[in-house]
Subunit: 484 residues, 2 copies
Amino acid sequence: MSDSSPDPKVRADGPLLTRDAGPHRPGPVDGGSWSALHAEGVRPDFLSWFAERTRSTYCRVDRVPLDRLPGWAFDPVTGNLGHESGRFFVIEGLHVQTTYGAVREWHQPIINQPEIGILGMLVKVVDGTPYCLLQAKVEPGNINVMQLSPTVQATRSNYTRVHRGGGTKYLDYFTRPGAGRVLVDVLQSEQGSWFLRKRNRNMVVQVDEDVPAGDYHRWLPLRELLALLRVDGLVNMDTRTVLSCLPSAFYAAAQETEAPSSPAVAAIVRSAAGAPGRHDLVSVLSWFTGAKGRHEMTVRRVPLRGLPDWRHTADGIARDDGRHFSVVGVTVRIDNREVTGWSQPLLYPRHRGVVAFLVKEIDGVAHLLVHARYQAGLLDAMEMGPTVQCIPDNQPGPRPLFLAEVLEAAPERVLYDTVLTEEGGRFYRSENRYLLVDAGDDFPTEVPDEFCWVTVRQLEALLRHGYYLNIEARSLLACLRSLW
Amino acid sequence: MSDSSPDPKVRADGPLLTRDAGPHRPGPVDGGSWSALHAEGVRPDFLSWFAERTRSTYCRVDRVPLDRLPGWAFDPVTGNLGHESGRFFVIEGLHVQTTYGAVREWHQPIINQPEIGILGMLVKVVDGTPYCLLQAKVEPGNINVMQLSPTVQATRSNYTRVHRGGGTKYLDYFTRPGAGRVLVDVLQSEQGSWFLRKRNRNMVVQVDEDVPAGDYHRWLPLRELLALLRVDGLVNMDTRTVLSCLPSAFYAAAQETEAPSSPAVAAIVRSAAGAPGRHDLVSVLSWFTGAKGRHEMTVRRVPLRGLPDWRHTADGIARDDGRHFSVVGVTVRIDNREVTGWSQPLLYPRHRGVVAFLVKEIDGVAHLLVHARYQAGLLDAMEMGPTVQCIPDNQPGPRPLFLAEVLEAAPERVLYDTVLTEEGGRFYRSENRYLLVDAGDDFPTEVPDEFCWVTVRQLEALLRHGYYLNIEARSLLACLRSLW
């Protein structure tokens, strides 16, 4: 079955490319928020380069029923969906029981991809100005086809050549000791609701020598990259998580040295500079340790076959009530990456999510309200998430805590508001609206047990280690760096 | 079946109590290394108090076949062994496949205890001298019946009263916010070869007020506690892991201010004081992240029933070849804790293990040789272990790397050598010989990929976070604090 009807989620205007699901050559990047970028210091030559890469990329993604997906098969016993090579990933079932929250038990399909991939960014400082080597990369799930990815984005299957494609460019810088100075090297989780214990190696390596950019790679000043974070759907998830792990010291050279644009931003700058917070780091860690022990979550891998509440249709695997997500199959043709044609399942979230931090100035220092959040697929069941992280249309019960404060904030309180997508190599047309909202002086300092006010510098300290901040929180922290 | 034959592993001399498996009242603590303690500043009143507690404690542990263990039953479908309440823990099967090491695939029973317990120690500083509140505690698996445990040692089942015993003394200090100043609060793993993803909350809380010691509790100067770490089988595993997480600053007041006893100890003191090491912390973290990604380990929970290579006998569940461990049942009567009688399975390691750090002075600073070690039950499959961690009699192939260097070291190179036991609430008569060995100047600085030289202060920084250092490494780090 090829998906020939226009998808209602595709937006016909704005910077996300209009896209039919059939064969197409995406047009040049264009849209409202792009023109504003010139004023923010993004040079026209990047814009024309990216438009040209997009133009010269042929991409076709066709929906295919899962049972006719070349190279993939349902296991005759478990019904799990896997690749014939035994590699890449497997869609299997999960049974979750917990003592926390409104829904205490459920079943769901989940992506099991135990191998560790590399998300690596090369950086270089020229005359005091930091630069990053980005890649214009196509992924089959992207709404807008092409996004800005880190220098290297490779699963272990990729770089050990399971699919027999070409070598991954620049990979040596991240696997060969001494190829550069390692600034960041940490395992971080990915979507805990969709992946089972997935983690990737987030790396930043600084080089001094000249490293030429290939056809689809480009050295971009960090400052321009931060500005591009304010464009809908442009900077991909992998770039955001890698950026989030960079220490403040590296950002300093790229950021505004003049007076911040507003008192709220000034308080964030102080927060990133290490001004003391409401709690010291030992107390923040103690709060988090306590939260992990307060409830229990039991997670059990079960066969995908016969998963309660889910069924196979011509369209994929979906819930009876249409909520949450479905698993769909696609066949892909792309002309500018290692492998030019393949098939795979993708997880298709049915609605747009909201991911937001409330920010509050306490004693002159901005604090972010983090949420100790259970997610069934996380390695230790809990990480710190943003204040709000939900798909409003999926919520069966009352609205999640603080969602109203975020969505109904006065415009002058909204510090950041951009639609970004999640990993297009695993998720089909996933979208989240990322927001940073000034909670204001009247917002209470006392918060429920599972929330805590922390400073930007404290989060930076935690980001040296894995499994503290979930992918959604990390994405937003990268966006926060674009505010000054 | 009651185990009426004397166990060959029980030692008839030395400080570990001679113990028949039948009904008994353990005699007073006595043995060679005790008398030396007076010279090291351990006051006779502690010794007499501990001897008196031991005398006044009645304890009887009887071996019982697993299928006649009161309150426990094999699941009719999976054959897993669990408690009728559904709590405490379950003995189930594990199937492990890995690309690393000599044995690439195996099955084993494993203890699944997903709930988080508390290992909590109250501390207090009086006139500049730090004190710890210890407990003389009996566990059924202890060879010597009574050991020194932290103030509180409670599983979640314990303190939520699943077994309907009395309340846990002092628990409020660790669960009530603001009851004291939290110095340490971190989730740490336990034996990765025997537990599936087990973790406990390691806590140290400092109080200013007077907290009276109950009958089986005692305030002990930290300096005396460190000296007691040199007595075979006295300080239990839970005390050791909690001690290991205490920052150097807290130890400083308890430790020798005079000249260290040897150049090797002087180098360790510098290492703990923060002298720069061979690698900076970013490089150590990068080495560890790289090691995690180099191989894969797939762990799958499987039914205990029909586990390949293992069989049920009258004696418990054991391997056909007698290696590794067996699962045995015991019925317990103890007269001085919350519940005075119960039954449970215990994991019974068949041989004594060796746990050792090689220590080497590099540019005047002591470095410990840590090993990035896979263990199937660990949450992220790998943590840093000591240089050597093995049960020599279990090894089917060649001797583990560096075992010879440890066991054949000249006596003047052996900085620490004490037999300590693992958690007596889960393990039956487990013993490890813990060693700190000066590797000497001739030992190479270049080591295999999965090893790294780190300073004491670097390990202290990692211990603020969970899942970096395994329980064996943490135990040894506590012991290291006893050297000066």
